[in-house]
Symmetry: C2
Amino acid sequence: MQIPQPYLLFLGDVRDPLAVKMARGILAWRPEACVGQLRLDAQTPDLGLDDLTVAEAAARGARTMVIGTANAGGKLPIQWLDSVREAVAHGMNVASGMHQRLGAVEDIAAAARGKGVELFDVRHVHPPLEVGNGARRPGKRVLSVGTDCSVGKMFTALALEAELKKRGIDADFRATGQSGIMIAGEGIAIDAVIADFISGAVEQLTPANDTDHWDVIEGQGSLLNPAYAGVSMGLIHGAQPDYLIMCHELGRPHMRHMSHFPVPDINACVELNLTCARVTNPAVRLAGFSVNTSSANEEEARTFLQELERRFGVPATDPVRFGIEKVASHLLALDAQGDR
Amino acid sequence: MQIPQPYLLFLGDVRDPLAVKMARGILAWRPEACVGQLRLDAQTPDLGLDDLTVAEAAARGARTMVIGTANAGGKLPIQWLDSVREAVAHGMNVASGMHQRLGAVEDIAAAARGKGVELFDVRHVHPPLEVGNGARRPGKRVLSVGTDCSVGKMFTALALEAELKKRGIDADFRATGQSGIMIAGEGIAIDAVIADFISGAVEQLTPANDTDHWDVIEGQGSLLNPAYAGVSMGLIHGAQPDYLIMCHELGRPHMRHMSHFPVPDINACVELNLTCARVTNPAVRLAGFSVNTSSANEEEARTFLQELERRFGVPATDPVRFGIEKVASHLLALDAQGDR
C-alpha cells in the first residue's frame, strides 16, 4: 500500500481542534505533500492552507483526498460522502482512517473501480500477513516505546527520522498507526491486525535492509497499559529493535482513560521493555528518553530530564522544546561503538 | 455463543492421527457430549466411537456436527461439504475450527438460515468486543501460562477444572482456543480477535462472578514466543489471574517451529509472567508447575519435578503421569490463607 501524494486535506465540518489532529500531523511533517484544505463549515479549524474545492485541488495536482479528521465512533458522516464522490469523480484516490470503510459504501466503491482510483481504509487494509518468525534481519532498527498511550511515540520517531536524514543518514520512518500511515503514505495499522499476526506484520513492515540503513519504527501503546499491551508486545518482538527510545509525559496523573491505573514507574517500564525486546534482539539498548514536558515550566522540565539522564546514563529531551539532536547523537555514538 | 451438545464428531478423510487431535480432546474431556464419529475413509483414525451416518446421529440426538480435524492451510476440503449440507438438512448445527468459514459457502449459509440452525466458525465468531479496561472483577481466577506453545496449557486447565469440580468447588473452564471452545461449547478464540481487543475479549470471557467461583482460564502461546507473545500478553492482562500455573515440556530442544530460538529459562519465564500479571492483579502468585514429561522415563521426570519444587517452593506435576491433585491442593491452600 502506497498512498499517492500530494494530498488534499479534507476537514469536513468538525469544530473540535483535536478532531483535526491527524491533518495537522500530516501538514507538520509533510508540508510539501499538502496542496490545500477542504472545509465544509466556516467554523471548522483552519490549518492555514488554501481552502480548495475538490476541482481546484485536482487542478493543482492533488492525487489523494485524505479524511484527516477523527470523530467519536469512527463512522463516516453522511454529509461527507458527497465530497468523497466528487474526489473520485475527479480521479483522486481517497484515504480514510475511520473505522467505517469507504469501500463499504457501494456506489463509492463502484465509482472508484470505474475511475481506476483507490480507496485507502488505512485501519483495515494491509498486505497478506504471516505469523512472526523472529529471525534476525539485516539493517538497523530503533523503536519508540512508552510508559503509556499518547506520550509522543509517533512524534519522536518522525523527529528522529528527520534528524537522521538531516545528517545524511539513510533512514525510513515506519508507520504503525493511522496518522503515521497518512504521513508516510504507507505502513500497517498494527492495532487493527488479527492478534496472531502482530509480530509478523511488523516483520513485514520493517524488512531486511542494507546494513547501514535505519528503520525508525513508530511504537504503539505500552507494555504496562492493560488495554493495549498485547499490541506493544507483538510490536517489540517483530521490530527486533537495536535501540529503544522511551517516551513519557511528565505529570500525567494516571494511565490515559484509566483513572484506576497510575502511570508506571519509568525504571520498571524500561526494564520490562528491554527484557521483552531481548527475545528477538539480545543486544538491544536504551538510547534515550523523549518526554512531553508541556505541563511543566522550562526549569521543571530541565530538572526532570537531567534526573533521568543521571539515573539512566542516556540523554533525555523534550523534542518539541529542546529538539531531538542529543538523542540522535547518542544513538549514532552507540552504534559507532561497532558490531555487537 | 453456545454450541449445542451432544456432538457428532466429523473426522472426514484425514489419515494423520495428529489431524484428529481436536476430536480426541473433545472425547477425552466431554465423553458424554459425543454420540458418535463420522469417517469418510476406512483409513481415517478410529476414536472408538460408533461410526454413524448423519441421519443416524440425528436420530440419536446429536445437535451439532463438529468438524474435529485440522488440515494444512485450514481450508474446507470440497469432499467434506456434502456432509455439512446433510447435517444442516437434518436440522443439526455445524461447528468448525477451520480458517475458511462455513458461513462463506453460500448454499450452506442459505440452507442453515432456512433450517434455523447455526454455523459456528469458532475461529471467527465472537461477541462484539470492547477494549480492555483492567478494572478488578469479583471471583477467583487461575490461568495456565507456558514456556512455549503446545506445552499443555489447555490440558492443564481442563484437568484443574475437573479436579476442582470433583472437590465440590464451583469452577468453569474458560476456553481461548478452538479445541477448548469445542470442548466447553463456548469461548473466544483469542488469537483470532483484532489486536486492539485482546485483553477486552478476555475480560468479557471471564466476567465478574461470585466471590467463591473459580474461572480456570486456558492460556495461549508464551510471553517469550516471538510469534505469539502479543496474544499471551493481552490474555494475562485481561485474565487478571490470582494464580498462575506454569506449563512446560521437558526436553524440548527449541521453541516450536523455531529452531533458532532455544526454550527460555523457566525462572525468567516465571518472573516475566508474574511481572506482567501484576499490572492488573498485584497479588498474583505462582501456584504450581504442569510439565509434559513424556520424553523422559519416570525417574527422570520425578527428578525434574522435584528440582522445580525445590527451586520455586510450589508443587510440580505431570498431570498425565501423576495427576493434577497436588497443584489443585496447593492452589486451594494458598487461597485459604485468606483475603490478600
